[in-house]
Symmetry: C2
Subunit: 583 residues, 2 copies
Amino acid sequence: MDTPVLDRVNGPEDLKKLDVVDLRELAAEIRPLLITKLSQVGGHVGPNLGVVELTIALHTVFNSPVDHIVWDVSHQSYTHKILTGRKQAWTDPEHYDDVGPFTDPAESPHNYFNIGHTSTSIALADGMAVARDLRGSHENIIPVIGDGALSGGLAYEALSNAATLHSNLIIVVNDNEMSIAEDHGGLYKGLAELRETNGQSRNNLFKALGLDYKYVEGGNDIPSLLAAFTEVKDIDHPIVVHIHTKKGLGFAPAEANEEGWHWHAPFNPETGVALKQNDKPTYADVVLDELDSQIANNQPVVAITAAIPGGFHLKKFAAKHPDRYFDVGIAEQQSITFAAGLAEQGARPVAFENTTFLQRAYDQLSHDLGINKLPAVIVYAGGRVTGGDPTHQGTFDLAMLTNIPGMTVLTPANAAELRAMLQWALQQTAGPVAIRLPRGNADAEPLDADFDVNQMRVVNAGSQVALLAVGSMLPLAVEVAHRLQDKDGVNATIIDPRRVDALVDQNTLAKLQADHKLVVTLEEDSLAGGFGEKVSRYFGPTAVRTLNLGAKRRFDHEQTRDELMTEYQLTPDTATTAIEKLL
Amino acid sequence: MDTPVLDRVNGPEDLKKLDVVDLRELAAEIRPLLITKLSQVGGHVGPNLGVVELTIALHTVFNSPVDHIVWDVSHQSYTHKILTGRKQAWTDPEHYDDVGPFTDPAESPHNYFNIGHTSTSIALADGMAVARDLRGSHENIIPVIGDGALSGGLAYEALSNAATLHSNLIIVVNDNEMSIAEDHGGLYKGLAELRETNGQSRNNLFKALGLDYKYVEGGNDIPSLLAAFTEVKDIDHPIVVHIHTKKGLGFAPAEANEEGWHWHAPFNPETGVALKQNDKPTYADVVLDELDSQIANNQPVVAITAAIPGGFHLKKFAAKHPDRYFDVGIAEQQSITFAAGLAEQGARPVAFENTTFLQRAYDQLSHDLGINKLPAVIVYAGGRVTGGDPTHQGTFDLAMLTNIPGMTVLTPANAAELRAMLQWALQQTAGPVAIRLPRGNADAEPLDADFDVNQMRVVNAGSQVALLAVGSMLPLAVEVAHRLQDKDGVNATIIDPRRVDALVDQNTLAKLQADHKLVVTLEEDSLAGGFGEKVSRYFGPTAVRTLNLGAKRRFDHEQTRDELMTEYQLTPDTATTAIEKLL
């Protein structure tokens, strides 16, 4: 691809030498680079295509990194990376992996934070502005937040606090009329009115929160953006600059289906057709199938998502049961406390969550569901060793959930267990139940008819060594047991604990204590605060030794899942070796 | 006290028989009851005195518990309790303890939730309304939220979602112009404008979020309230009824100092003078004293609170350092992410938190501070076995904090350690540090000159048995050691671990393994996810046995601290007995 203008741009300072014609040409050069790389490696398509002009204008008017641009969520920062010395990661396929999908201070002085959760940018900028004022300097602080991220409570808390500052803060609201899925909530009525009235509507959230406000309709028009930013540069008080952009601009399939192209796996850049199709049923499909059955039996089931219906195929559910489907927007706190209200009134809410975003609702899980013993069901994805970016790391689920009193946490090892657990969770009324969704395609096993929440499942009754394998670790335990049998002549007990928040199966625990010298736990989540530590505490006063294998208490940055599993001794070789040392 | 009108009121149905003259008399009878009991047992003075008329009017117009009133925070629900069959808990000192300070479904069918954290009521009501619609019924759902609680992000998420409902929801905003401390944030400029314009101001947060809106100036005037509620009763869509009340109304000291009387210890009901004065320096004073020293040495220290300056004496700090003091309102997420922004720019933020409210910021602690390794300091109170209400239970601090990667958690046992830890936390730049504030008055010990974050403090070097005592448990360990010496002839090792998020002191750990058969941990927080489990995991593969003593994974309701400490084997008798069983 020829990129004559981009070839002259190695940093923001080079943009200042370009005229509007060049800047437009630059945008036209960047878009194909984005699409080409995205088509090969996947990523956030729509968000990045929508902010090409916005990013060019910001870097033309402001002086990054002296002026500080903070990208909310930061999944839309590709053009920012291209313009700040990292273009090779798009122009040269050999260097595609040189940069991550989010901002990362280790990558560039133009990045300030690792960010992968939404709605934090304004709060971060509030702090940066106060620190700047304390040291008496005057640079511009510019958080850039999408309209989807505005629905998160932290954005509101930060807007309200921004209004109390008396110095420069330029809050750019990138309004592309979309959350991850379509927008949900009264907030978006107000934003739509502002767009329709060129910013003149009476109902103005930002003004109601005490902030100065400016509207820019031409969010993909470089001259409009340059004019707006030039006007607010070095302003002496906080202001919201509300900019109307088009998500997915420049790639027809992404413009036509904004939700489907928010994030996309590798695709044919001509047609937009995904390179791999998966028509097999997933574990989420097992859940949805069971919910259909429950509804057919007149159960008052309600499905809730905080703006991530796609991963759970919830649009299928919504089409069938529109009055039972609630996308609350990016608002995880609301998703859980809303479920609490539903459950108190006898409905059966099922909240579909991603574990890393569910962290936003920790207090709601404890205070609203836990204390109140309300039977909401939380089906969550992502509880596993993920590799990749620490902002989406999935190893903290059990440390977060299993220590909340009254929260029953279930870790199905297969589809049969998953369905049995869900049936149980929806018929009991004792309290909240979290179910960790296995990953990948679901097998077609029949229902686990023996499921009992208070009993572990003994897969093999052996002696000497016991392997307690959490959910997905069951195949590993089976393989390790084979090796222990073959190499060491040990007939290891294999147990699927099924429930991991508490050790309540006294019969099985007594047998472990009576017949075993070593109890090993295997879990692909943080050892600190996880399941294994509960087992070690239990056996601590006894003669039974314990070995907890699992993830370190650490944010992982660049390692792959395979590398991490090896380091964490969660492969057949490494786990067997660790156990043999204690035989 | 004569209460001729109240004598005729045993439930909301009796209010319907009273005329306005009677209802006003009823308010005049209730206030002295509130003040008298509050003066003897302490409690939320201002919030309850402000809503006497509001509560009477709600129960006169609506039909609780068919109609559902949900009190946000629920610390203002005393009159609600008086009017719904629980008046004896105010009229008869023998029955003062019959009811709790918050709503609790176990107490009455007029309560729906245990609530003690703010900003949840609208989200709960959203869920209740949807459940009602699903079952096809039509009762009124009425969350009552104070203006202070409106600053929490969950309230905003819930308002925006409420606007998408198409059925009855009556959101009463009780605007008394105050958070716990004075209001902070642009939100409150908007509310003030609404009050000043009788609800006509252009800048209307509620309308901007897509909601219908009605203003009632006479929030302590029964006829105004009756008229307003009668008008909105059975409304077919969500509406905000914004009511202007006077916090502390009817008790002169509380009217004169609204912040000081938000919550108050027992006092002389004539003068308002507290029955017990405490002039001794607290641990919070030690922190503030150290911050003064740091600022005198030109450290860019910034103090942050989420609307609870009182417990930390932060108003003293604010008076001395107004440009370094930030009360972000009830907005714990903001308090932490704001600190992240400050720290990234080189300031030294110190966030003063209460552990139970800090749960709101779990994701911010992890994603914004933890991943980014930002050196913010969190000084928090309340980490202990509290007794009393589960919504303010303090035993979850270590399970919340110590499993977040990169979060150093320190548990000082005395003022000398506290100051040394704070000095260290403010000079290091490796990452966030949480310091659990001891309770009570601070001794005047000199600085702990030996403090090293990577070394445990060995208080007594013994053998056989080691006692690892977290913070406040050190005196217990000393006493238990005496008993073990006297009764069993064991010279127990006593260790103050100082740092509880990780076991990094390899020398001491090696000595424990070499010379000890039993390692006992003592902590007044949840065993599940806490410090002891980390110790049990560490020694699990060895011959050393472990015993973890601490709080159960349970929400405690009515037990006292003493009862709980006995149950948790954290008294000299119980702990010694538990240990002796393993000798």
